[in-house]
Structures are given as C-alpha cells and as structure tokens.
Subunit: 360 residues, 4 copies
C-alpha cells in the first residue's frame, strides 16, 4: 500500500504526551513528523531529551513559530498546557490545517463552563462549536469529517467509556455517580514538583482536588449527551447529571484504574450488564470487556491503546460497579489522538496502534 | 516506674502481623514475649525469619501447643488465619488468660453473619457475646473490662473511623455509602501467590472482591451501632445501613488509603465537618484531622499507630467525602492490638506506640 | 511482500518469557503461532493467562506432546526451565525442525562445564557442538546457518555486549573483571516465591548467588572467545579469563542494568573508548552507544530489543567502567530469540523488533 | 532517670535529613529541640511541612539567625547543603556550642582535598583539624571528647564499615577495590529535579557520577587511616589506597545497598572472614554480621540505625565480596549524628536509637 506520507507537526513535544506521540508516530506507516517544538528543550535533539527515541527520530526541538509550522505540516498535534492552545489552534485552523489538540481548550461545548473551570476567557469561542470531542467510540462520524479534534482528558476517557453504556440505557440513577480514579504519575507531566518527587509519591498515595478536578465538566458533558440527550445547555429543563469525581495520585508510571459506582434504577444482574457492554462495544477494536475485575489493570494495557472494562451488579446494596483501565499516555492521550487522525485521514482506524500491552 | 513485665504469647507469629507484633512488643516496657508459634517456621530463630529483629528477639518459633502456651503466658495475641482462631481462643479463655485475637473469628456479634461470610460454623458462639470489638475510639470502656478483644480488620479500621462522626450525627444518607479502599500488599499476608508476585503487582493496581470482601459485615455492624443504635439484631425494625465496599490492591508495602463517599442529608460546609471531626476525636491520641486531603497518605503514618483523616463537603453534588490513612500492620492490626492490651492492663494507652510515622 | 507465514510452536509458553514471545510474534508479519504448551496452564486460553494478549491470540495452552509439536510447526521456540529442554530439543532436531532454545541447556560448548554448574548430566552432548550461541552481534553468520540456536541468558547478554569490545582489543586485565548486575524481578520467572513476594522485594534490594550464579560460565565462555581465541577448552595453555559476577534483585518489573569494571592495561581516554565501541558496533541495529551513563537505564529500553551502553575511563584509579541496559525479556530473551529466527529464516534482522522503548 | 534535657537547634531542618533528625529527636529522652531553621519553609509549622510529625513538634521554621541559634541551644545540628556549613559551624564553635555537622564541610582532614572536590575555598581550615569524623565504630573516643563532629556521608558509612575489617588486616589488595553502591532517592534530598521525578526514577535505575562522586575522598581518607596508617598526607611515601566508587540511583525511598569487591592478598575462607568481622565489631550495638547476603537489604534496616553486613570469599576468582545495608537517613545521617551526640554528652550510645527496622 504505497500511500505518500503526510507531514506532521507536534507542538509542545517535550512533555510525556509529546514523547508518546513521537514514539507512536515513529511507527506509523503513513506519516512523517517534520517539526517538533518544545519550549524547555529548544535546540536539544529529540533523542537526547527522550533517549528511548535514539535511532527513531533525528529532529531537534524548535521554538514555536506558527507560520513555519503551518508551512511544514498538513496536520498539527498540539500537546501544549491547558489555556496555551487557544491561539495556536485558531492560527492553524485559519491556515486550513487539520488540528488535533490534546489540551482541554476545545473540549467543552460551553464557553462559560470552560471559563469557569479554567479561569481564563476563551478568545475563539466560534471554534468550540466546530471542534469534535475526540472519542471515536462516541463520535466516530463527526471526527472523520472535522478539521479540529479535541482529544479527551485521560481520566474522562476511562470514566466516559466505562459509564456510557449504563447511561445510554438509563440504568443508573443520574445523581448517584461516584468516580474514584487512580492515576499513574506521568499524568502530572514531566515538570518536577514536590508531589511527584520520587520519595514523596513512592510507596504511598493521595486523593487530590476532590470534587474540583478540571476533568469533571468534560465527563459530565459527555455523559449528559449519552443520557437521553439531556443537553447541558438545556437550562431549566432536566437537571443535568453531575458526577462526584475524585482523582488519586498512585505510585505507577503510567495507567489509570477508574472505579465508578452508581445506584441501579431497577434490579439487574452482572450477566445482563456484561451482555449490554459487549453489545454496546461490539465493533470496537480498542474496548475489551472482561469477566473479572482483577483482569482489568494498568499492566494489561501498558503502552497500548486499549480500554479494558469490567462491570458488575451488587444486588445487596443496589449498586452497579464498573472498573476500567487505560494507559493514560496512549488511550488517554497520544494513542487516542492518532486514532482520531486515522479517522480524519481515512486510514484504517487502528493504524500504528496494533501493539498489545507490555506485561509485566 | 518498676512494673513487672507480663508474659506474652504470640500465636501465628510468622506472618507480617506477627512480625509487627514482635517488633512493637520488643519496645514495650511492660511486657516480655515468652513464646512464639508459627507453623511455617517451626524451629527457625525469629531473627532469621525476620532479620530486622536480630538483636531484639532471641526466641525460636514453636509448634502450637496450647497447654504450653497457657502455662507460659498471661496474655495471648493470636495472629492466626481467619477460622483458625475459634478453638485456640476458647481454650485460652477457658484457661483464664486474656486474649487479643487479630483474626475475624470474634469480631461479629451475629453468629449467622459470621457463618455466612466465612463459610464455617462457629463452635464457640457464647464467646461472641463476650468479645469486644477492639477499637478503643468507640469501645474504650468495654475493652478495659473484657478478657477477649477481637481486633478490627485493617480496612474496617479506616472505614469506621472515617465515617463514625458522620453517622453519629446522621448527616449521611445511610444507603448512599461507598467506600473505595486501597491497600498495600502486606495486607494480603506473607504467603506468596500470583497476585502478590512482584511483577504482577508492581506499577499496577486492581479492584478485587467487589461487594464481597469479608470485611464488609464488620464495617456495617459498627456503623449501624453508631447510627442511632439501629442494632443489626433488630430484624424487622429499621432497615440496617449497608455499605458498598471495594478494596484495591495497590503497589505499596504498607498502608491503606480509604476514600469514602455519601450523600449529605442537608447542606453542610467543609468547615462545619472539620469542626465535628475535631470534636468527636478531641481526646484521641491516634486520630489526626487534617486540613487537606493531600496530607492524608500512607507515608505519613508508616510504622505508626495514627489514623489521619480529611473530611470535606462537595455542595455541587451533595456529597460528603472523607479520606483516611492508616498503616495496615499497625493501627490496622498489631498497633491497635497493643492499644487494646494497654487498656486491658491499665497501662497508659499509648505505651509502646509513641513513634511518629517514618517519612519518606 | 507476500511471504507465506511459517508455523511456530512455543513450548513452555506460560511463563514471562513465553508471554513475551507471544506478544512479539503476534506482531511479526512472517510467522503464525500454531501451538503453545504450558504445564501450569493447560486448557486455559492464552488471553486469560495473559490478559494483555486478548484479541491477539486465540490459542489455548496444550500439554507438551512432542510429536504433535513437530507435526504442527516448522520452528520451535522452547521457553522451558533449565535442564528441561535437553530432551525436547533433541527430539525436535531429530524431526528436522529448527529450534530456538531459551534455556541454558545448549549454551555451553563444554559438557563438563554444563554438568558442573547445572548439576545434571547432558544426554545429547553431540548437539552441544551443533548449537550456536544466539547473540547475533558476535555469531551472525553461524546463526544464519544453524538449525539450533541457544539464546543467551539475560545477564550474559548485557555483560558480554558491554565487555566484548574491550576484550577484543585486550585493553582490560583479564583477571580484574567485576560485573555488578541489577535485574528486574520478571527475570526470576512467574512462579511465586518468597523473595519475589511484593512486600519482600519492593522498596528494597539484595545481592544473591554471589560468585555462584549459573550465568557465570556463559559469560566466561564468550568473553574468552573474544579475548584472543583463548579457548576454554585449551587446558594447560593460557589461563582462561574469569569474571566476578554478582547479580542483584531490584524493584523493577523488567530490565537489567549491568555495571562492569576492569583495570586498563594501559592509559586510555573515555573518548578513545567511545570511538572503539562505536566502531565495534557500527552496523548493529540494536546497540546504542551513549555519551552519558545516566542515559543508560532500563526505562529507555523497556519493551524493546535495544542494548544501550556507556563506556568510560577513570584514569585516577586505572579502571574502565561500562554500563549497559537491556530489557531482560526482550533483548535478554524473547526479542533476541526472534532476532536469531529472522537470521535463520533470511528475514530482515529487525523484523517485528522495530518498537522503541516505552518511556516512561 | 531525671536528667534535665539539653536544648537543641537544627539548622537546615526542612530537608529529609532535617525531618529525620526531628523525628528521632522527638523520641529522645534527654533533649528538647528549641529552634529549627529552614530557608524554604520559613513561617511554616513543622507539622505542615512534615505531616508525620503532627502532635510531635509544635515549632515553626525560622530564618537562620545565628546569634539567636547560639542563644537558644546548647548543641547545634547542621543539615545544610555542602559548602553552606563552613561559616555557621565556625560561628557556633566560636560561641562555645557543640556542633554536629551533617554536611561534608568538615569531614576531610586535608583542606586541599576538600577544595578540589567541592570547588570552593575553605575559610576555616583550622577547624578541619579539630573536627572528628563522626563514625563511632572507628572514632568513639575522639567523638566523646570533641566539640565538632562531621557526620559521614551516607555512601561512606556503608563503604567504610564494610571494608574496614579487611583493611585493618591488609587482606585486600589496596588498588583493587571496587564499590558499587545503590541508593534510595531520598539520598538526593527533597528538592524536586528531573532525575528524581517519579516517572523518571520509578521502575528503573541509573549509574551516575562514576568515579567522580564527592563521597570518594572521605571513603579513601578513612580506609587509608585503617590501612596501616598510610596517611593521605604522606606524599611521596606510600601510594595511598584509592577506590573505584560508583553510585546508582535506585527506585527505593530509603536505604543503601553497597556491594564492595577486592582481590584477596592470600587465600582465605568465608568462615574466616565472618569470624574476623564478628570479632572486629563484637561490641558494636549497630553492626550486625549476617550469614547470607540475601539477609542484608534496606528493608531490614529501614528506619533504624543498623548497618547489616555480609562477607564472603570467592576462591574461584580470588575476590572478597562484602554487602552492606543501611538506612541512608538514619545510620547514613540523622541516626549516626545522634549516636555521636550521645557520645559527646555522655548518654548511653543507643539512646533514642533502639527501634528495629520497619519490615516490610
């Protein structure tokens, strides 16, 4: 299959998400990375900043020069910090480039919600309406037709995928949802800080930003969408579903384990729930429904684009419990971004994403 | 203070709980360990099985010979597996010895509940009525007067301590409680098995026995007791409170981080909750109420008898969230056992338990 | 390239090395795994024993039935325990199959050396002379012509690759070599045992089998070969080179970091040594010479077939120091085995082995 | 025993060594910490910076005001960075205070050696002659008589203790010593930086500063002293012993495992070496000689002041190998400092240091 390769730019490529994009793109048969920017690493060879990429990438980190970027690339991945993508995305879209933004800046449909949770004003609200939330399992067709994809956050990827089937069937009481998520520390990025200093984080754990994490509104937006099209915009009408979301910092490099709870609206068995999930995700290459919760763990998806899910009913207490695992840097970031790119470009959806997890 | 030391036996001393008892008792000024049994280590010097105890313990593991035990000791700690303590406890009680049992065999008041969750019949149900649940913060007086203490499980210690103040005030809806607990792997004991094999457990996590863990009924028993004296025995009357309990295996040696959720019955602030907790535990040496959830973590209590707790209200979703951390081998087992011994013997309650946590 | 796929058998496929073979072979374009045996997992689907392989492998573990194996497969990988490969290899070779043995049973040229270190007698000594030590960097041509490859041990892979250039130039005093190696715990296999029980191994380290590890004779055999053809058989002539080898158990899942020391025979600079190494390995796809020792670490090669090496001279003490990192399950086992298979079959040497390391 | 408590100051108390001093001093019966300084934490309660110390320390971090320090304290611990202790030590000594310095500034007898390895000039060289290297096992009498103790570095503590008996008997060839040491990451201090960022350090390892670590000259100074009084000052006479020293960053919170090698001068057995070590350290409370190298590991000494040592002969290669484990923050820093304080003050040497290691 002799497709010509498209030219790629990666902005903000010096963090872990950037490194993971470069790792995965190096193995993708239809693309060529032409330019990588990275503020903290300008002038450094990629292979010295990411020694694992030695022999795979001969680029040097550039400063961010947007005209140069749009000149070099057909498609731009942005792995910039939250609030720093707003302008560059607008610039690249104006230059008619395809953009896949891994920040939160174009994930929320509601400008007000974005501004409330991120504390800045959004200078390109018209693009909020154009952008598509880059979760192929829920928005495959829209992704294949858009120029602007906003890649979901890592926690929301697990949370939405593990809860969507339940909400699509209205089996959960919408005000009862508790999401208790545990993340590896690469999720906090590559900038050293005390909570991520090895002796502070190792052999321990903490719950942080309880009820206040910025990933909360995207989870609620998407689950509301699934939940009977109760639009989050529909003020005054149905009370939108909210979720109690608690992230935990866990002594793992990569991976999220997300445990979600909710009250069942009527009695249901584990078997019926498993059937529902198998049907809901029957054509999904990257979703695996597991019999046992103990088969769902970060070390079974490490380095891969899979989301593994277990689902069960606890009739004694009336709860439904679901456990999901992803690699936060792959399905939770770079892998899902490439999955969207494949859809946008008409490549087979799993191109460059066919590795099993690395276990142990 | 020239008290004479009492003689102690430790049965089942070759596991991690036994080792921790020996470590703590070695530093206790009023006791002397005279005999240690341990099936898997009979004939082995304690200091070769637990090299950390070299120079602290010159005993050799003995086979379990109950007459010899009751002859040698005034007080017996039992760190035997669940279901294996029933007979030895009865024997020692009959011999007029004080017993502190670290298994689950005498924790549940209801014989039927025990038999249902542990799958064996209980041959000494009369002792279930005599035994006291060894949590000094809730049962101090009874402990000081009993001959038989059943030391709480590790998960229940955190869960009960973090929820009791809320239930004492009936601030939580009793059917809304979710306890999502994360335990270090020493909680699974010292017998090797695949889930605890390093490469399986390291850099990963799993949820296990969801809704089915045997610690569930003790949590419910104690929380029901606190919750307006709705006795679990009171069949037909009030519906007893149940809890949704999910344990997780976490890549830590020691420690539990327990995150508990419930719906508030009426609006309340974080500040009011903190005040409630500070009052409820105002005279407790081993409970520390923390401002921030990030200050509550296993590495702040490691090796110590503390239970650290943070509490907060999330008015947006109507939830109350509490996070608790303990060392599962100390406050969750050996330390709490010694705290009960101190009460039984009339020693200052914190004798031998005054070490701060080892951080980092 | 429409090659037809060859049929593969994997014997002893239920351990970590077997799982890694299956992971890598699942992505190899020219092979098809037809049969997998695994004593401890007979009857179990591969994807339930290795959940990471769900959707990649639909086989079920078989009992070891050699006639069936030779009937199904063109090439057999053996991932059996040491001493358990002797017979099956002989059987398969007799049946004219290609064999790649990952045990130690055919690594040592000298029958006596094998019998001394492994404590069993070797029933097929004639095959010891046919087998080729499967390190392509030293024996590429022979591997491409043989039917029987003995894949090097994990420690020897790092040790030989990091020392061969020095010995080829006789820059090191042959009686001064110290190899201090640190291995992740997957190197000990998937059978649970106390030293690999998480709480024993985590957050700690030990040195074991000092001077007595069975990998010692293969390191000496190969380094002697490089060192001026001083054959280990040449008794009475030159004194063969010996190495002081100490392995350490390290709290990592995968990876070996090997630090080797020796006295220089004459003054030499770090720069000259780096040049020597770059020349020695100039055509090697899987060897990367690094400027800094801190760039050499297991997390830069994790999941990949690379061996990263740093080399330096310490003129103050007259030592040469070299640090090497590999993934013990890839370059130290399954990956190197596939590299040999590619040579045996005439495929490009890196087929199926082109992934960069997974970092972090 | 009603001794009055002496008043203590801790300078530079906000790092891990400072925290460990505060933890241990909180349990010491004869001292009272009156003032703690810590540049990065001025104004912060100690118990908010070190939550493990809540209920044990009610002090607030002060800025460093030396007159105030000497007014408040009888004895000053300095846990300042290397090169930052020179002046404060001189000030406190001038004010007739006892000083225990945990930096390297007063460890080396030779001013020139200090200035070469630390890159600054030493403004109080006269005090270098007064200071005593704070290793009680080698300098007990001198420590008990001095006003200024320089506490050994963490790596040197393990290396010197594990090699001293061999050198005292001249059993090792002095130019053959290789020390391959592995340290937990708390050894790098509490300031976040990329190599200590959790995802960089976890599940991996690196060798760093090979042959160039600043702990090298103290190891050589002390081993030369033991080795037949070949003074390092004695230029032109005997060639001083040098050591090849390589530190490694290891994914542990605390602990050093040090593996040291050297060529024997004459044949000797493991048994004879063990006897030598048992004799050499026969009266030492904190040295434990172990039968097996696998009993020597950081998790057996964690939180304690012990140094565990194994010693063996490898007649095949003519090497002697010794393995030592310490807790780098206790015997490698704060604990050894308090051991010296006890000697200086005439307290029993193990006062406040009688805890066994925390295992697991």
């Amino acid at each position: 299959m002799a497709k010509s390769r498209i030219n790629i730019a990666v902005l903000g490529g010096s963090g872990y998400t950037g490194g993971e994009l470069l790792r995965l793109l190096a193995q993708h048969p239809y693309v060529k990375v032409k330019i990588v920017t990275g503020d903290k690493a300008v002038g450094l060879p990629v292979s010295s900043h990411f020694p694992n990429l030695e022999t795979f990438c001969s680029l040097v980190f550039q400063p961010m020069d947007l005209p140069k970027v749009t000149q070099s690339a057909d498609l731009v991945f942005m792995a910039l910090p939250h609030t720093k993508s707003i302008e560059p995305v607008a610039h690249c879209i104006k230059a008619k480039k395809r953009v896949i933004d891994l920040s939160a800046d174009y994930r929320l449909c509601e400008q007000k919600t974005y501004e409330k949770w991120y504390g800045v004003s959004h200078s390109s609200p018209h693009l909020l309406r154009q952008s598509v939330y880059g979760m192929p399992e829920l928005h495959r067709t829209k992704i294949s037709r858009t120029k602007l994809v906003a890649v979901p956050g890592c926690y929301p990827t697990a949370a939405i995928l593990q809860l969507a089937p339940l909400l699509s069937k209205r089996i959960l009481k919408p005000d009862s949802i508790v999401i208790d998520a545990k993340s590896g520390i690469s999720g906090a990025g590559r900038s050293p800080a005390l909570p991520y200093h090895f002796p502070e984080a190792h052999d321990s754990m903490t719950a942080y930003k309880i009820g206040q994490h910025r990933h909360t509104p995207e989870i609620e937006q998407e689950l509301n969408n699934v939940y009977g099209k109760t639009s989050v915009r529909a003020k005054g009408r149905a009370k939108p579903l909210t979720v109690m979301f608690t992230p935990h910092l866990t002594p793992m490099n990569r991976g999220i384990l997300s445990t979600a709870y909710g009250k069942m609206t009527k009695p249901i068995t584990t078997k019926a729930l498993q059937d529902l999930y198998r049907r809901f995700y029957r054509n999904e290459r990257f979703i695996r429904i597991r019999e046992e919760s103990t088969q769902v763990s970060p070390n079974q998806v490490r380095g891969s684009n899979f989301c593994d899910i277990a689902i069960l009913a606890d009739s004694r207490t009336g709860n439904i419990i679901t456990v999901a695992a992803i690699d936060n840097l792959v399905k939770g970031a770079a892998g899902q971004a490439i999955q969207s790119m494949n859809l946008m470009m008409g490549y087979p959806e799993d191109t460059g994403l066919t590795s099993p997890g690395i276990f142990p």
